[in-house]
């Protein structure tokens, strides 16, 4: 029975792989639910702060925050790339990185300089390998995105914008559409477009305590931070769903492979038995 032992070992190893992918699928499924909840939990804040920011930008024509002013000449561009920390989640990171690289290439062709901020291990590793100008990065965010950890990384880019080192700021992340569908998405963060803020409802003005300017400054900062936080939260929900789907298909594949290997094994076993019987019959005939 030549080769049957090897086939048995192979079946065993595929079975073990399947156990792992199955476990990862289930872990991702439970994490996905939590990640989606967190993504939804961040919406009321974003909605409220958008309202207030919209109102302020209309109510205060005499003071315009730097984030709201469009620059005529765009020479330098900032790009925040959001990826996952871990792999084994299908084409998620590849798609985001491909979109960023294509965009970066066309910017480069227009003679613009690009500064990159990487969120997540995969984006950081990739941008470093291809020698992009990485201004700031954060890796190892874990399963729960905390704004506290993102502040420093974001502030580097926001400061660069305020100082005029970059004239536009984009963010590239995976948008969560539903469990089966996630899309890489490139959005312009700064300058804030008026349409994105929308128009306020009502036309009164606030009493500012202590003064308008610092409050507006703080509010704009928080608004952009909340947009980035939102992108990171969506990216995490996408990561978990994508991983769940990828691991499900890996488990299914392993099942198929096991089926095929079992067939081969049984055929080999049967052939060996047939051979043995014919040898015995042949031997008996020779004796008689």
């Amino acid at each position: 029975m030549a080769g049957s032992k090897e086939i048995r070992t192979k079946i065993k190893s595929v079975e073990n792989t399947r156990k792992i992918t199955k476990a990862m699928e289930m872990v991702a499924a439970s994490k996905m639910r939590k990640a989606q909840d967190r993504m939804r939990a961040s919406r009321p804040y974003a909605e409220k702060i958008r309202n207030v920011a919209a109102h302020l930008s209309f109510a205060n024509p005499e003071y315009k925050h730097a984030f709201l002013i469009k620059r005529d000449v765009v020479k330098n561009i900032g790009l925040i790339v959001v990826s996952s920390d871990k792999g084994l989640c299908g084409g998620l990171n590849t798609n985001v990185l491909r979109l960023s690289v294509n965009q970066m290439k066309s910017w480069e062709a227009e003679g613009k300089k690009i500064a990159v901020s990487a969120i997540g291990n995969k984006a950081f590793g990739f941008m470093n390998r291809v020698s992009a100008d990485v201004k700031s990065h954060i890796v190892g965010i874990g399963d729960v995105p905390h704004l506290e950890n993102l502040i420093g990384t974001i502030k580097v880019m926001l400061d660069a914008y305020t100082n005029g080192e970059i004239d536009q700021l984009y963010i590239c992340y995976t948008k969560f559409i539903n469990t089966m569908k996630q899309e890489p998405n490139l959005e312009m963060l700064l300058p804030l477009s008026g349409e994105k803020l929308g128009s306020p409802n009502g036309s009164w003005d606030y009493i500012y305590e202590p003064e308008a300017q610092p409050v507006v400054d703080q509010l704009m900062m928080r608004y952009v931070e909340s947009l980035i936080y939102n992108a990171v939260a969506e990216n995490m929900a996408s990561e978990q769903s994508s991983r769940m789907v990828a691991m499900k298909s890996a488990s299914d594949n392993a099942k198929n492979v096991i089926g095929e290997l079992k067939l081969v094994y049984n055929k080999a076993r049967q052939a060996a038995i047939t051979k043995e019987i014919s040898e015995i019959v042949g031997g008996a005939a020779a004796v008689a």
Binding site: L97, R98, I114, S136, I138, K155, I207, E209, N253
Partner: protein
């Protein structure tokens, strides 16, 4: 029915409180402010401190600790945009500097210019792998 005002306390990570209140005390930047229903529209920053909310049918005041943020008041609605972390200009600055330095450190040991060809080759390879797996998966069904 007592005169009440709707109050929402939200942070970037979660919705903390939502309900009707008779009276709210918030630690504003310039000192504590007390707000009754039908207050004039006001916007102010908040210092780290306790937010006190007096609800209609609850004897005890609800206490929420917030580490700063923005308070927006409209006649029928109060919104507290709470920060999730303890924030301060120096603290934020320190974080930004730390992030910058980490990036510099990481950039030190690697070759110079962004190599788009290499980047695209690497991505194309990954895409090809994924497509191959998908094809393989289809053909076995």
């Amino acid at each position: 029915m007592a005169n009440t005002v709707h109050i929402d306390v939200v942070s970037a990570e979660a919705s903390i409180f939502s309900g009707e209140a008779e009276f709210v005390v918030a630690p504003a930047g310039g000192g504590e402010v007390g707000i009754y229903p039908n207050h004039a529209p006001m916007i102010t920053n908040i210092k780290p401190g306790a937010l006190r909310i007096k609800q209609t049918d609850v004897a005890e005041e609800t206490l929420i600790f917030i580490s700063g943020g923005i308070l927006e008041v409209q006649p029928g609605m109060i919104t507290v945009l709470a920060d999730t972390a303890v924030r301060g200009h120096d603290l934020d600055e320190a974080k930004a500097i730390a992030a910058k330095e980490a990036a510099m450190e990481a950039m030190k040991n690697r070759n110079s210019d962004m190599d788009y060809a290499a980047a695209q080759a690497e991505l194309a390879e990954a895409v090809a792998q994924i497509q191959a797996i998908q094809r393989l998966r289809k053909s076995t069904h």
